[in-house]
Amino acid sequence: MPVVKHRAREVVLTAGLKTDGLLFLRSGTVEVVKDGVQIASVNAPGSVFGELAVLLDQPHMAEVRALEPSEFYVAESAILASDPTVAHYVAAILARRLDAANRWLAAVKRRIQAGDPPNVIGKAVEKVEELISYGGRDPTGW
């Protein structure tokens, strides 16, 4: 796959903008920003970005910005239909996120039931948001 490089502070994906491609982090660190708030900082090689936009055919939900010089493998969305290995990698990431978000949501519920203060509940909600919003990587498959 071709590689693109981004300098520190460069925007990699713009929220609200539609692009037709998947990005896999090769090296570097990026942040995921939603509504002006950082929801994740990512440096794990293999982390995927842009997959929800591609699968849902909609604009990106969050902004991705390089925190340091970062490199990505770039693939067109059609690779999901033509390369089972890539398709499987992305599917496994999605499903893992769904599963993890589900478990964190259970933690949110327990905290509400325990009468925890809003800031404690909010922390667990942030974790759910991180899992829902950004791709991450398949820890077993990269």
């Binding site: 239909a81 033509s82 077993t140």
Partner: protein, 165 residues
């Protein structure tokens, strides 16, 4: 051509798979079992329970909705509530080798994450506004429906199987 095949293409693909029928009360999947099979509900209704407590019911899928039950060593039992038919596929070969099925399943998961994300915005503003726990709890349940096993599309949170496990 759109990236995600429409459900008719997916249904045709499923049509080639063997069927398994379970009678009312029969166990479809048992906690801790692992057969490597992907079960896709064609007809009927099942109950998903965890430690003997029912956590979801999955009924006959509507148009474009597929209920997939994946057998991995997991913490839930699946029992037929009525006579139910499933397409049976080898999970490894179907999911790994068939991009059509894989894409379709991915799109369903992506839709659920996306809808959950929209409700999460509501949840955050409720917490921020200091709404009572009962109200916040209702919104959490909405998200739970989208993410959890009763999501109605891809039924069982046990997906994905771990191809590397």
């Amino acid at each position: 051509m759109p990236l995600i095949p429409d459900s008719a293409v997916f249904q045709r693909r499923l049509g080639a798979l063997p069927l398994a029928t379970y009678q009312a009360g029969e166990n479809v999947l048992t906690t801790g079992s692992r057969t490597g099979q992907l079960l896709i509900l064609k007809k009927g209704a099942v109950s998903i329970s965890k430690e003997a407590v029912e956590i979801a019911k999955v009924a006959e899928p509507g148009a474009g909705e597929i209920s997939a039950l994946l057998d991995q060593p997991h913490t839930a039992d699946v029992r037929a509530l009525e006579s139910s038919e499933f397409y049976v596929a080898d999970a490894a070969s179907l999911l790994v080798q068939d991009p059509v099925v894989l894409l379709y399943v991915s799109a369903i998961v992506a839709q659920r994450l996306n809808r959950a994300n929209q409700v999460l915005i509501e949840l955050k503003s409720q917490i921020h506004a200091g709404q009572p726990p009962s109200e916040i709890g209702k919104t959490v349940e909405k998200i739970e429906e989208l993410l959890g096993p009763s999501g109605g599309n891809l039924a069982y949170a046990g997906y994905p199987y771990d191809p590397f496990a």
